[in-house]
């Protein structure tokens, strides 16, 4: 039996046709049966899960449901602090560390009634993977465990794809929600910078880190984000503004929207596989048929976004890892330490010049997209490579399609747009203007409903 979507499960639970306890037990059994192959979880928390599920079921039976997420099983990327539950960042350096408080977003999801199944694999400290020299193995692609999930929210993508959870949390500093969502065939959104609190989430890069949801469908992401978003005085970058209805455009077409396509990104800057191009072309056709206006736009090169994003990221990351880098170098995985150390070798002026370039790029991008609602591209240039053949320096040798929206702070979602030559998922990416998540969801949902890709689930092994 396929794992239901959050929207499906929510409706069944509200109608008392699905028991949160039975749903949780079936997912725990599925994890028990298959996760030795996929390594999505670092830690499963069955007692906590069943306690949460029983509490949700009692509320629902008493007519006191907390809302659409009450009784919905989820899990957290293991950089989200969880009170009384180890939070490792998938690293030897934090093995056994048990926080005394939940991350703000974890609290919000718990208050919405979700059922917490455990902590999910990540690239070490949300940067650098796949690594085979850490205390836990890397997550495997749910469509073929010989292949990569991308990262760093690799466990969340694997767990959602495999149907172990209905949704989960991720974080995104250069593409760590959208990359694994793309390669695992699920939906994942990096919201606007400041929309979701970073408080209690282990930081990677203060000015580029975003928290966000991942799930099988766009609609499910909108439902999760509704609970996750909101002002938090504990996060100095938190946006103090009302939270809109993110599901307002779900089920609608995109008539009247203007959608920009920066063709040079995927045709020149980083040429994509024909299967990815086919997905972009299909999205253009779907949106045009529904009455959207498609506009070609010229934006800065992907290399420009990559350069500023990388320099800012590694400088900020090295600054917070500096004491351990100096004293516990060999306790890090090779991939993380060799990539992150670049930030320690740069000069202060390099960092400031990257910040100045960031502002220029934000201005150029805003000017080039005046009157445009959304941008259409992809989140990954091809389907997932084999997990044992990922180039060590891919993040500096090739520009990423996800970097621009980290640098801009704009919201962007990755959704499945078909399958590549090896039967693995490919993606489109839809980005919006700051705090326009509802429009992003509207278009991504319209694409999902117009195409058959949400009907196909991976067949698990093991």
């Amino acid at each position: 039996m396929n794992t239901p979507t959050i929207a499906e499960a929510s409706a069944l639970i509200a109608a008392r046709k699905l028991s949160p306890v039975e749903l949780t037990k079936s997912l725990l059994a599925r994890i028990e049966k298959h996760d030795a192959i996929y390594h999505a979880f670092i830690q499963i928390t069955p007692e906590r899960a069943l306690d949460d599920a029983k509490a949700a079921e009692a509320r629902i039976m008493a007519g006191q449901a907390r809302g659409p997420l009450d009784g919905i099983p989820i899990a957290h990327k293991d950089i989200y602090g969880t009170r009384g539950i180890a939070t490792t960042a998938h690293s030897k350096l934090l093995a056994g560390w048990v926080p005394d408080a939940d991350a703000t977003v974890a609290t919000k999801l718990a208050e919405a009634g979700t059922v917490m199944l455990g902590k999910l694999s990540t690239h070490e400290f949300a940067f650098g993977g796949p690594s085979f020299d850490l205390p836990w193995p890397p997550a495997r692609n749910p469509w073929n465990p010989d292949h990569f999930t991308s990262g760093s929210s690799s466990g969340t993508a694997a767990a959602v794809g495999a149907g172990f959870i209905l949704g989960g949390t991720g974080s995104d500093t250069g593409g760590s929600i959208r990359g694994p969502a793309a390669l695992s065939g699920i939906a994942g959104i990096k919201p606007t910078y400041g929309l979701c609190s970073r408080a209690g989430i282990l930081p990677l890069s203060f000015s580029l880190d975003h928290a966000g949801p991942m799930a099988w469908t766009t609609q499910d992401c909108a439902m999760l984000l509704q609970a996750m978003a909101g002002y938090d005085p504990a996060d100095p970058a938190s946006a103090n503004r009302p939270v809109p209805d993110f599901s307002a455009g779900i089920g609608q077409d995109v008539k009247g929207l203007r959608i920009g396509v920066p063709r040079h990104w995927h045709e020149t800057d980083q040429r994509v596989d024909p299967s990815v191009q086919a997905g972009i072309d299909q999205a253009i056709a779907v949106f045009r048929d529904q009455g959207a206006e498609i506009v070609e736009v010229v934006l800065p090169s992907l290399l420009d976004y990559q350069a500023a994003n990388f320099i800012i990221l590694v400088c900020e990351a090295f600054s917070l890892h500096e004491p351990w880098m100096r004293t516990r170098w060999n306790d890090y995985g090779e991939l993380l330490r060799d990539r992150m150390v670049m930030g320690g070798l740069m000069a202060a002026t390099d960092y400031v010049q990257a910040l100045r370039r960031r502002r220029e790029i934000c201005q150029i991008t805003a000017d080039a997209t005046k009157g445009i609602d959304l941008l259409l591209s992809t989140a990954a240039p091809a389907e997932a490579p084999r997990i044992d053949s990922v180039p060590k320096w891919a993040n500096v040798a090739f520009p990423g399609f996800t970097n621009p929206c980290n640098l801009l702070g704009w919201p962007a979602i990755s959704v499945c747009s078909g399958f590549g030559p090896h039967g693995l998922p490919v993606s489109i990416q839809i980005a919006g203007k700051p705090f326009q998540e509802a429009k992003v969801f509207q278009a991504a949902d319209a694409f999902e409903r117009a195409t058959p890709y949400r009907d196909k689930r991976p067949v698990l092994v093991g």
Partner: protein, 68 residues
């Protein structure tokens, strides 16, 4: 992508960072430094206005929940 920085100069950068790495470890990292050098050049916009500010704004009340 061969680096412009010489290996002795790169060794000095590693020492300045306070890191004690083996020669093999430094060689591995040095092998990718050329890519980083390209990025460092790319963020230096020719003719940039001297007053062009970075994408950082300091808000005196941001660290106190807006109340101080």
């Amino acid at each position: 992508m061969p680096p412009k920085t010489s290996r002795p100069d790169f060794d000095a950068l590693v020492r300045r960072a306070g890191l004690s790495l083996t020669d093999t470890q430094i060689t591995t990292i040095y092998g990718a430094w050329g890519y980083v050098e390209q990025m460092l050049e790319r963020v230096r916009t020719p003719g940039r206005d001297r007053a062009a500010e970075p994408a950082h704004i300091f808000k005196p009340d941001a660290f106190f929940g807006g109340e101080i």
